[in-house]
Every structure is written in C-alpha cells, then in structure tokens.
Symmetry: C2
Subunit: 313 residues, 2 copies
C-alpha cells in the first residue's frame, strides 16, 4: 500500500515549471559539488491551499518571509551557497530592506540642462551600499539561487526535487525549513471548480497534509543536517511539540518560536538539550536581528556535525 | 431589530488604529472640501478572515492589488485626489513598478576615492524619473492619502469611517471599490483561540459577511458616484451577477471581469447598458494598461453625473 505522502504526490500533478526549476537546481548543485562550499536550502514564507480550482479564495499561513530572507543573508555572510525557496511575493534577501514605497523615498531626481539623473540620497548611501555590495557579490559568485512557490502542492513538489538534487552534497548540506507550510488541504475532488457563490454559509472540510519531514529525513537527504521550525501561540505546548517532532523524525534541530515574539526569542531544541536565544533590548534597539545569532548557532552545530561525520568515516 | 450589517459591526470591535486613520481622513477631506477637486476612494487588495484569534492561519482572496494601485495613478493623472485604501503589502501606486529585487538590479554602486555614490543605471532613468516625478508631485500636492487594512473586519470599519468622512463631498466623490473583499467569515465565538492542532482533519463553518454596498449606497454616501467590481471565473454568470448587484444596490456602475483575463478585458455594466473595454494585442505589447481606459471611462461618467446633478439642483 502506498504511504500517505506517496498518495499525496500521486494525486497532485507536477507543477508546470518544475522541470525548469530542477534544471536550475542541477546547475547550482554541480557548481558547488566539487568544491568544499557548504550549501543550505532555506524555505521561506507561507503556502496557500486553494478553495476552488479556478482560485479566487484560499487558506494561507501567516508568514511575511522575514525569518527565511534574513537568514539567507547571514548564511551568505558565512560563506554558504543558498537555495532560497520562497513564496511568491514574500520577502526576499536584500530587497527586504526596501519594501513598498521606502525606496522611492530614498531617490533624488536631478534634472539639469545636461540631462536627468537619479541618485540615492546621501544619508541612505551607506546602508544601501552595504546591501547592494552583498547582493551583487552573492549573484557574481553564483551563491544564491532563488526559486518560488505559491500553493502547498507547488511547495511539496519543489521541496522533494530540491532534496533529491542536493542529496549528493551529503553532510555539507543544511536544510533550514523556515516556511510556514499548511497542515491542511482540500482534496482536489472536493474542491469547487468555480468561485463559490456567496449566497449561503459554507462548510469547508480540511484533510491533513502528510508530514513531509518523515520521508525527507529518512529517505531524501539522509546525510544532511536538517533543521525544522515550530511555531505555536500557546507557550505551554511549544517545547513539548518541538521535542515530539524531534523524536518522531530524528532530525538534528527544531527552532521553536512563539507567534507573539518570534523576532525576539527562539528556543533551540536538539536531541541532547534545549536553550534560548533572545535579543536584548539594547540589541533590538541597535537594529540587530535574531537571525544573525540563530544562523551563527546553526553554522556552529553544522561544523560539529561535519567533524563528527568525518571522524566516523 | 438590528439589521445584519449593524450586528456585524457591533460584534467586531473597532480596530486599534481606526481613530488615527479617521484623523488623517478628516485632514485630507478638509483640504479638498473647499476647492473643486474631485476625490476618489480606491479600495485595493484582498481581505483576510482569521481562523484563530492568535492568527496563524486565515482565508484570503486572490488580489495582488494591481487594479487598485494602477487606477490610483491614472486618477491622479486626471487631477483627482485619491484615498488609497489597501491591503498591507499589496501593490501600491508608483512603487508597484519596482517590486521585489527589480530595483536593486537598477542601481549602480560607484566607489571612488572621493566616496561612494549610488545611481540609477542610465537605461532605467527615463522610466523611473517619470514615476518618481508623479509620485513626488502627488505627495507635494497632498493629493494622495494611503491607508491600510488586513482583515475583513479592519476593512469594513475603515470603509464605513471613510464614507462618513467623505460624504460631505457629495457628488464630487467617487467610490471605486476594487478590493477583493471576503464574502465569508467565522464568527468570533466559533474561532479557536490558539493555533489549531494538526492532529486531525478539520471542518470550518463560514458565515456570510453582510453585503455592505446596501448601507453604503443608501445611507453612508447617498450622493457619491459608487462603482463596484464583480469578479467571476464562470463567464456564463458574469453579466447576470453584475446586473443583479446593480438592481439590488442601485449604484452607478459595476465593472465586471473574469479571473482568467481581468488585465485585458472588462465589461462596464450601468443601469442603462453594458459595453466591453478590451486591450488590443498591440496595446498590451506596448505596455499599456487597461486601467488607463477604465479610469478615463469612469471619469467621463462621473463628469456626466455631476453635470446631471447640478442641472437638477
């Protein structure tokens, strides 16, 4: 009998642009396989669950993409090559600093008889220069590959492909699964074809999305360093839930956080112990981001993991 | 007995920042009330319906905010003052042309011994200069007020306040209701407090959101020129649904469009007739936007409406 996740894949056809993304992943992976560059797959943003085949309405998960996009910058800082797999229109590394109309407010229009030029206002130059330098460097070194998804189906297909293509990197690879993936979905045969008419109340039946960490850890990337995230709103459940996931899927690390303060505090839960990373008020006020500390910590753990593996081999 | 919409407002408390938005609206309205500037309220983007009080998951409506944000630019071009009421992080006028990493790709970093400067690459100057000029002019003339919402509750509270404050503008005011507003919601007493556990399938019961066009047209802005939008995925229903709305709410115009081609074709449905506005392939290829033609058409109709009203008074 097919397992739950195999059934799920067989009942949701492959997204149209998957082959193109797989080609990009293969090129990226081939470029880094022969060196000693460490690679991280960062997933970021929420996934949608359409309520109609011609989708007007959908269920979504809270996630602006802050965690994934900022962590990507810090992994690049540490020399990692990053596959940044994100929800369409969620925050992206580098550009996240200038979303909305912020960037138009930083531009000066200079119109003279010699012509028109547009410059970044001097007070904004240092900050933008720093971001721009890092962004261009990541692109020039071929260290950043950005791929996107919208629905939970696109996410799961792309995630499996990425795992299979990254698997040969073995322990050199981190999976940093920060995306907020839907736990529920509507089976295709129960979905309305057209926009549901708003003439009467509706009941929606949601089925469970298979827990994809199970095949991911045991079958797809058995030698990689896998990090998952756990978001809760009730602090009494948080650490137990994280510990439960770790016991069930046998991966390396769960980063547990509360919706109410996820930008200030996380708990790192490993097979051995758990400890808190928390920004001080001074750090927050100075504009520091918790992801810098999270990534430093993950990179240290990854280093130990690699050393441990090579000791054994 | 309280009507449906009154019950809805009384069971969903006023959003925290509503008073601040009302102050901005009053200032904006006072500035334009004594001149002869025409004013339009543009609503834009989708609304969310939270599934939990501590919201991790929500139902959302398809809308990037393209229609509302681009129409805002064309209304400004025509001399209108615009209240742009949009979903947080949906497209905004002017900045919509440079979303994501597009704008980082347009910047040149010049580092010399005299210092660092950042300029827009010369091939991008004409386009950005045009947008920047219009953006700065709209701000300088005080002709653009941007307000935002996320949930359908915030939307409905803000819409009612905006209508009440704009009402004294009477026939000089257009309501251009392009936001994709949820038709369904979950009553607060049926919502989970915390994130719903993903241990078993779920059933969600959705109630109907009251049709707010009814009090809006008849009570809140009885003298304004009200334009609503109708989005369908089944073309057999589109015009009938638009006509039905017009008969029911007695407003001036429904702009009917199909999800599949809403950026290329709309049908304008009035009390008297209906006609199609459609971009030709040449217009599309030249980068023209259908909103330019829609807004021109709406402005012409508004002009006739004002002339007609002053003829009668």
């Amino acid at each position: 009998m097919a397992s739950n996740w195999e059934e799920f894949y067989s009942s949701h056809p492959q997204p149209a642009n998957l082959n193109k993304d797989e080609d990009l992943l293969r090129d990226f992976c081939a470029r880094h396989l022969n060196g000693d560059t460490r690679v991280v797959l960062v997933t970021s943003g929420g996934t949608t669950v359409p309520l109609e085949h011609n989708t007007v309405r959908f269920v979504d998960n809270f996630s602006a993409g802050t965690r994934g996009s900022s962590s990507t910058e810090y992994f690049l800082d540490r020399g990692y090559a990053v596959v940044f797999m994100h929800r369409v229109k969620s925050l992206q590394p580098f550009s996240r600093h200038f979303s909305g109309q912020k960037f138009l407010n930083m531009l000066d229009l200079n119109e003279t008889k010699d012509g028109t030029s547009i410059t970044v206002t001097s007070e904004n130059v240092p900050r933008i220069a720093d971001v721009l330098r890092k962004y261009k460097s990541a692109l020039e070194c071929g260290k950043l590959l950005e791929l996107s998804f919208t629905t939970v189906y696109e996410y799961l297909w792309l995630l499996r492909s990425a795992c299979q293509i990254l698997a040969p990197l073995a322990e050199r690879c981190i999976l940093y699964l920060a995306a907020a993936v839907s736990d529920f979905y509507i089976p295709p045969n129960e979905m309305s074809v057209h926009k549901i008419a708003s003439t009467k109340p509706q009941t929606i039946s949601l089925q469970l999305v298979p827990k994809i960490l199970a095949p991911l850890v045991s079958l797809w990337v058995p030698n990689a360093f896998v990090v998952s995230f756990k978001l809760e709103t009730n602090k009494d459940l948080l650490i137990d839930k994280a510990r439960e996931a770790l016991n069930k899927y046998k991966h390396k690390l769960v980063i547990a956080n509360m919706l109410q303060n996820y930008r200030k505090k996380v708990t790192m839960v490993t097979q051995q112990n758990s400890y808190v990373i928390e920004l001080t008020t001074e750090q927050s006020n100075a504009g520091e981001e918790i992801e810098m500390y999270i990534v430093k910590n993950v990179v240290d753990k990854h280093e130990e993991f690699i050393a441990d593996r090579s000791g054994k081999s």
